[in-house]
Symmetry: C2
C-alpha cells in the first residue's frame, strides 16, 4: 500500500482533492453547509479545483451530472441530512444513466456519531448514519471516511465510480477532513482490468461466425458507448467493417449524423419507417451500449429478437441467450477488428430527416415549423441539450451537423434536469455553442440556476418553450386538466433578476423568431421565450403519450 | 372489518380521498407526473380536497409540512422515482419535527413491477420498489397498495401518521387507483388508545410526590406539545397549578407570551440569564414535549439533571431514570389536575424582553434596531415564520402579542424550507396576518414558490434579509470566504415575474423601512427586501455559530 510506505503526510481533504484532480475533475458543485465548511476551506486552497456554489443541492446534482456527461466524471459537495437528501434525485439519475459522480457529503464528527448527539440536520433519533444508508440504493459504493483507512477508501470509491460509471457516496466527517495521512506514491490507476483471455475467446468466435453468416448486419448505437468513452473505437469498427448503423434516441449524435453509414434513428414505432424496417429485418443487430427503456424503444415496440441480436456493453457481452460477464466490449471490438471482417452487401437506403431550414412566415410558431427553423442556427460542434418532453421529441427528427453533442435524460427523465445540467455542460465543454431547449413546466422547477450560469459567466442560448404547462403530461392524460397548467411567468424577464449581462426575447411568430435568431449576441447568456399553443406538440410525443397512457391503464 | 360487510363500492383513489377528508385535510400539494395523473383526475372530481400544484416537489413537501403545523396533518402527491426523491428532504424534515404528512406517490402498475419493466423514472435495474424502500428510513409506515388490502392499509397508515405525528408513505399504482373496494361503514377512528391504568398509576404517584416536595418547580414548554395538540390542556394545567413556565425556542409562543406565569425563553446559554438561573436552579423542571437538539439547547448547554427533571411527552413519560412507555402525557396531566395540586411559592422575576418599538432614524438598518422595529407590525393572532438563521435568532428575543403562532424548523433546519412552508401556512391558517422572515441565501433555494403563493392568491408579508450570503455559515466558518457568498439578485423585482398582484419594496435605512411598514397593502402578496451588512447578525446567532464551529472541530 503506497500510503503505508511513504513518509510525507497530507490531510484527508487534500488527498481527496488530489485524487479528484487525477480523475480530471476541475470543478466541484454544491452548496455550503456547516458540516462541509472545513473541507470547503481546503477546496479554496486547492488552486486546481474551482468551487461552484449552486442555488440549491438538486440543481447542483444536475450540474454534476451534466459535467460528467462531457468530462467523464464530476464531483458534488453537500452537507449532512438536508443537503444530501435534496440532491438524491439528481444522484439517482446519474446512477440510472451511468455517470461517474463523486457525491461528497460533509457529516458530523466521529464523536458526535458515537454519542448519538441530537444534531441539527438529523432525524432526532440519534442515528446519524441513516442518510448514508439511504444512499446505498442509488450509488455503486459508499464509505464513511475514517482517518486510518481514508486513502484506501477514497481510491476504492473513485475507481468504482469510474469503472461502473455510477455515482459513489463519500461521507467526510468534519474532523477527518483535517486528519493527516500518508501521501500516496502513485497517481490513481483508473485502468479497468482487461478481459481475461478465457472470457473473450468464446464470444469472439461466436460473434465472428455470426458476422460472416449475416446478410444484413446493422449496428445499433446507444448511450452506453458514450458513457464509457467507446465512441472513437466504435467509429473505427464501423468504418473498418463497413456495417451501417442506426442510433437510439439516448445515443443520438454519438457519431456524426452525416456519416455515410448512418441510417437514422431507431426507436421501435417511433423510428423512421425505413430505419425500423432495416433494423427489425436485419439478421444480425449488433447492439452497442443499448438501454432498452420505454422512452428509448417507442414504449417497448423495439422488436429485436435474442437470436438475431448481440449486445456489446462496456463490461459485458450477450450472444444469443448467453451473457458473458467480465468481458469488456472494448477488448472484444479490438479483437474483432483484428480479424479483419468487412461487410460487402448493399447499403440500406438512408432515412430522410429534417435537414432544411424553413423560410419564416408571419404565422404563430408551431412545432412542425419551429424545429426545422431551429436547425439553421445549430453549428458544427455545438452541444444541444433537450429536456425530455416537447424539446426532445422535437429535436430527435433533426439531422445535426458534424460534431454535435446531444444530451438528453430519457431513462431517468426528471423534469427540470436540463437547466441544472446546462451549468455543468457550460463549465466542461470547450465548444462555444451550448443550446438548451426546455418547456415552461420543467423550467419552473430549477429556474434559479440561471443565477449560477450568470455567476460563472456562462453564455448558453436557452429556449423556453412556453405552452402553458406540462405538455408531456397533457398528451398522456388530462389534456385540458387544470393540474397540467402552470402559473404564467414572464420568462424572458427572469434572467435580469439574477444579473445584468443577459439578452432575452419573447417571440410569438416565425418572423419574430427568425429576427431573434439573427440578433442574439454570442457574448452573453441569452434566453428566448417561444410562445406556442397549449396542445401543439411534436408528432413523436403525441404517439409516445398515448402509449404511456395505455401502459398506465389510463382510459381516455 | 367494515369493508367486508358493506356492499357499496368505491375506488381506492376515492377511498383515500375520503379518509384524507376525515383527517381534516382540504388541500393536496405536489407536482403532476404520468404515474399520478389517474389519481389526479379523482382528486379533481373530489370537491372537498383542492389540488395545489407546486413549482417542484421539494417545495411541495415543505408546503405540506407547513400546512400540517397549523392543520394537524397534510398530504403530498408526487410521481414515482424522480418526484418522490425530490421531496424526500422535506418528508425527512417532517419525520424529524413530528408532522403527520401523508406522502402519496403514483407508481407503475402491478404488471410493470412484476415484469421488472425498464420504465422511465426507474434506475434501469428492473427493481421498481427501490424508492419505497428508501422511504423506510424517513417515514413511520409504508404500503404499496393492492386492491385487496388497500382500505385496511390506508387506514393503518393514516392512523399511524396521526398517532405518531410522523409522515407515512403510500405507493398508489396507476391501476390500483381505479380498483373498486367496499365503502367503509365507519369514519376513520383517530382516537389514540388511552393509557392503561397500570401504566399511569406509578408515574402519577411519583410526579405528584415530587410536586409536593418541590420548592421551585418550573414548566418547560416545547414543540412536542404543539404537535400533539396538547397546548390547551397544558395551559389549563399551568393555570390550575400556578407553576411558572419557560419556553424552548422550538416551542416559542405555543402559549401566549404575555401570560402572567411566562418567564421567558430557555435555551441553555442562549437564554435570558434570569430564565436560565430560574430553570437550572429549579428543584423540579416539568419538561413538556421537549426536543433537546443542539440549536434548541444553546448547543447542549441546557443543563437539566435527570434527577431534577421530568419529561412528559404525548406518548411517554420519564421520571428520574425511568421511562414509562405507552403512558400518554395528556392522560397523565388530566389525572394530575384531578389531584388538585397548587404551587404556593413566590414567582421568579420575569425576564426582560424586547417589547418596545424603536423610533426609526436615517441610519442603515442593523439587526439590533431592525427586530424591535419589526415588533410594531406583528398583530395579535399573526403567524410568524422564521428561517433558521438570522431570522430565527433575531426573532427569538421578541415578546410576541397574544395568540401569535411561531413557526421554525430548528432541528431539521433545512435552508429554504420556510418559503415552501409559507404556502402551506397561508392555505391552512385562518388568521389574516402571515409574516415570513428569510435570508437571501435561503431564499434562493426555493424562490420560485412565490409563484404558487400568487397562483393561490395568498397575501403574506415576506421579508428577505439581504446580507450577501449565508450568514449562519459565516458565523460558523468562513466569515469572508467566497463560498458563503451568493449571486446578488434583485429580490424586490422577482415577485412581479410570477404575477402582477404584488407589492414590493427595497429598504436600506430605518426610515425607509418604517415607511414600507406603514405603506404595505394588506390585500396582496408583499415582499420587502431589507439590505443589511454582511457581517451584522443577531447576538444569539453569533454565540451559537462559535459553538457549532467547536462541535465541528473547526479552528478559527
Amino acid at each position: 500500500m503506497a500510503q503505508k510506505t511513504t513518509k510525507k503526510m497530507i490531510t484527508v481533504g487534500e488527498y481527496l482533492l488530489m485524487r479528484l484532480q487525477e480523475m480530471g475533475i476541475e470543478h466541484l458543485f454544491g452548496v455550503p453547509g456547516d458540516y462541509n465548511l472545513g473541507f470547503l476551506d481546503q477546496v479554496m486552497a486547492c488552486k486546481k479545483i474551482k468551487w461552484v456554489g449552486n442555488c440549491n443541492e438538486l440543481n447542483g446534482s444536475y450540474a454534476a451530472d451534466g459535467y460528467a456527461r462531457i468530462h467523464g466524471s464530476a464531483a458534488l459537495l453537500t452537507t449532512f441530512g438536508v443537503g444530501e437528501l435534496s440532491a438524491i434525485n439528481g444522484i439517482a439519475g446519474s446512477y440510472a444513466e451511468h455517470l461517474a459522480v463523486i457525491n461528497i457529503v460533509g457529516v458530523p464528527s466521529g464523536e458526535l456519531c458515537r454519542t448519538h448527539a441530537l444534531m441539527h440536520h438529523s432525524l432526532g433519533t440519534g442515528r446519524l448514519e441513516v442518510f448514508s444508508d439511504i444512499y446505498r440504493d442509488v450509488t455503486a459504493a459508499q464509505a464513511w471516511l475514517k482517518a486510518e483507512t481514508a486513502g484506501k477508501e477514497i481510491d476504492r470509491l473513485l475507481t468504482t465510480a469510474w469503472h461502473l460509471r455510477r455515482p459513489v457516496y463519500i461521507a467526510l466527517p468534519t474532523d477527518v477532513s483535517y486528519a493527516a495521512i500518508p501521501l500516496p506514491e502513485k497517481p490513481l490507476d483508473l485502468t479497468p482490468p482487461p478481459s481475461p483471455a478465457s472470457k473473450l475467446e468464446k464470444p469472439l468466435r461466436q460473434i465472428y461466425e455470426k458476422l460472416q453468416k449475416a446478410k444484413r448486419p446493422v449496428i445499433l448505437l446507444d448511450a452506453g458507448i458514450q458513457r464509457f468513452g467507446m465512441a472513437p473505437l466504435v467509429q473505427q469498427f464501423i468504418e473498418k467493417t463497413g456495417i451501417p448503423f442506426a442510433s437510439m434516441s439516448m445515443g443520438k449524435a454519438i457519431l456524426d449524423e452525416d456519416h455515410p453509414l448512418f441510417l437514422g434513428l431507431y426507436g421501435g414505432k417511433l423510428s423512421d419507417p425505413d430505419v425500423q424496417a432495416c433494423v427489425e429485418n436485419s439478421d444480425l443487430v449488433l447492439e452497442f451500449g443499448t438501454i432498452m427503456c420505454d422512452f428509448n424503444t417507442g414504449d417497448f415496440t423495439a422488436h429485436l429478437t435474442e437470436k438475431n441480436s448481440i449486445e456489446i456493453h462496456a463490461d459485458q457481452v450477450r450472444v444469443g441467450k448467453t451473457l458473458y460477464q467480465k468481458t469488456r466490449g472494448g477488448d472484444l471490438l479490438k479483437a474483432l477488428l483484428e480479424k479483419g471482417y468487412r461487410y460487402s452487401g448493399s447499403l440500406p437506403s438512408r432515412a430522410s430527416a429534417v435537414s432544411k431550414v424553413a423560410a419564416p412566415t408571419d404565422k404563430k410558431i408551431t412545432h412542425d415549423r419551429f424545429w426545422p427553423q431551429i436547425l439553421g442556427i445549430i453549428q458544427p460542434g455545438a452541444v444541444v441539450i433537450a429536456e425530455v418532453g416537447s424539446s426532445l421529441f422535437g429535436l430527435l427528427p433533426l439531422r445535426f451537423p458534424k460534431g454535435v453533442t446531444f444530451i438528453n435524460q430519457s431513462l431517468w427523465a426528471s423534469i427540470g434536469y436540463t437547466l441544472g445540467a446546462l451549468l455543468g455542460v457550460c463549465l466542461s465543454a470547450p465548444e462555444p455553442q451550448k443550446i438548451l431547449f426546455i418547456g415552461d413546466g420543467s423550467f419552473q422547477l430549477t429556474a434559479q440556476e440561471i443565477s449560477t450560469l450568470l455567476r460563472e459567466k456562462c453564455r448558453p442560448l436557452i429556449f423556453v418553450i412556453n405552452n402553458d404547462g406540462y405538455t408531456i403530461e397533457r398528451c398522456i392524460r388530462g389534456a385540458e386538466a387544470s393540474y397540467n397548467d402552470v402559473q404564467p411567468w414572464k420568462y424572458a424577464e427572469l434572467p435580469r433578476i439574477f444579473g445584468d449581462d443577459v439578452w432575452t426575447s419573447r417571440v410569438v411568430t416565425e418572423t419574430e423568431l427568425a429576427q431573434a435568431l439573427k440578433e442574439y449576441p454570442k457574448d452573453r447568456l441569452c434566453l428566448i421565450e417561444v410562445k406556442m399553443e397549449k396542445l401543439d406538440m411534436p408528432p413523436l410525443l403525441r404517439t409516445l403519450g398515448s402509449d404511456v397512457a395505455k401502459l398506465n391503464h389510463y382510459q381516455k
